[in-house]
Symmetry: C2
Subunit: 200 residues, 2 copies
């Protein structure tokens, strides 16, 4: 049984959202599973010297055109959220709390959080919004609220982000397949080739 | 007759090279022409705050894997050049000098310069190497040598780079199709959709 595909992403990354709508179906076509790994891109930027897209001269303006166009190209529901980007400590903690109980529920929560931010324009940097999104997929509101504030979820969030940086994760989405790194939703075609025919 | 596709690139950009092997055939399938616009990415970086890939923490290591893998994925002959990247003032001046006489020859020269650097590992930052490459496609060595040092080619190089920045060009390759910007060889699928079905 081959190792799961590692799918690293930030909940505030539109390209991460695009990848999140595709990666499980892609992997399953080749009998592979996916381990979702939300991280905090702001921490990654401390190593890479990166910055949020809107802050980048020229690239920020380009991203404003590219992001919604990519969504239309891929046929993915999308509305540019405001504010953008937002801090996602709450969503990441909620994810790892949920994963501690059941990984399928954590993925369901992640998909709902992406939709809340990038389709419904809900500000997922607000913890109570995260709780409401979690409740909408069937998680217990009080348990989520407590779990997000638990030391375990906080420590896991930091540890997963540090582990990702140590593996070379430099953006979102960032896949690792059999040790091979693929950065960007626009590398899903290369991931597919890898899964289909092996290393190239 | 629709306007030509603008194809901005740096001669030291592997992703620019990949795009250069595809863009003319793609455009011609839809009855479109391409205007090649070599620029100096180092000047663009002064506006974007960017830096050459090898200098970027994590992203530099990633690029070392991604670049040759993209070449294999696309079936493009490629050898990682050393040194990388190199300054390309000479190639850009030679291009605009050649274009002043005949644009088809300038494109032939550009393709030969890309191949010289990314397949044959010739250092195209050396002006005499540029002259030899130009001679190999039928240009007169002495005329190229003089043309590269001509004030007109120097001024055109600076003007085209400044014009590109003023249009938002933030990397290589960077296409502008009917006013719409597409950055990266991995947007060629979106360029194709645009040419095929129009704005989306």
């Amino acid at each position: 049984m081959p190792a799961p595909i590692e799918f690293h992403f930030d909940f505030s990354s539109p390209y991460g959202y695009f990848a999140a709508t595709r990666i499980d179906a892609l992997a399953s076509r080749f009998g592979r599973s996916v381990t979702w790994k939300p991280i905090l891109l702001g921490v990654v930027f401390k190593t890479t010297g990166g910055a949020p897209l809107p802050a980048l001269p020229l690239k920020g303006d380009y991203a404003k055109k590219d992001i919604p166009r990519c969504a239309r190209f891929m046929g993915i529901p999308f509305r540019f959220p405001s504010p953008f980007p937002v801090g996602t400590v709450g969503p990441v903690r909620a994810f790892y709390w949920a994963e501690g109980n059941q990984s399928a529920m954590a993925i369901l929560l992640a998909q709902a959080l992406f939709k809340a931010y990038f389709v419904d324009n809900l500000n997922i940097s607000d913890n109570e919004t995260v709780v409401r999104v979690a409740a909408s997929v069937g998680l217990d509101a009080d348990a989520v609220r407590a779990g997000m504030n638990d030391a375990a979820a906080r420590d896991r969030t930091r540890a997963e982000t540090e582990l990702a940086v140590s593996k070379g994760v430099c953006g979102s989405p960032y896949f690792i397949v059999d040790g091979e790194p693929f950065w960007g939703h626009d590398r899903l075609d290369q991931v597919e080739r890898w899964l289909d025919k092996g290393p190239y």
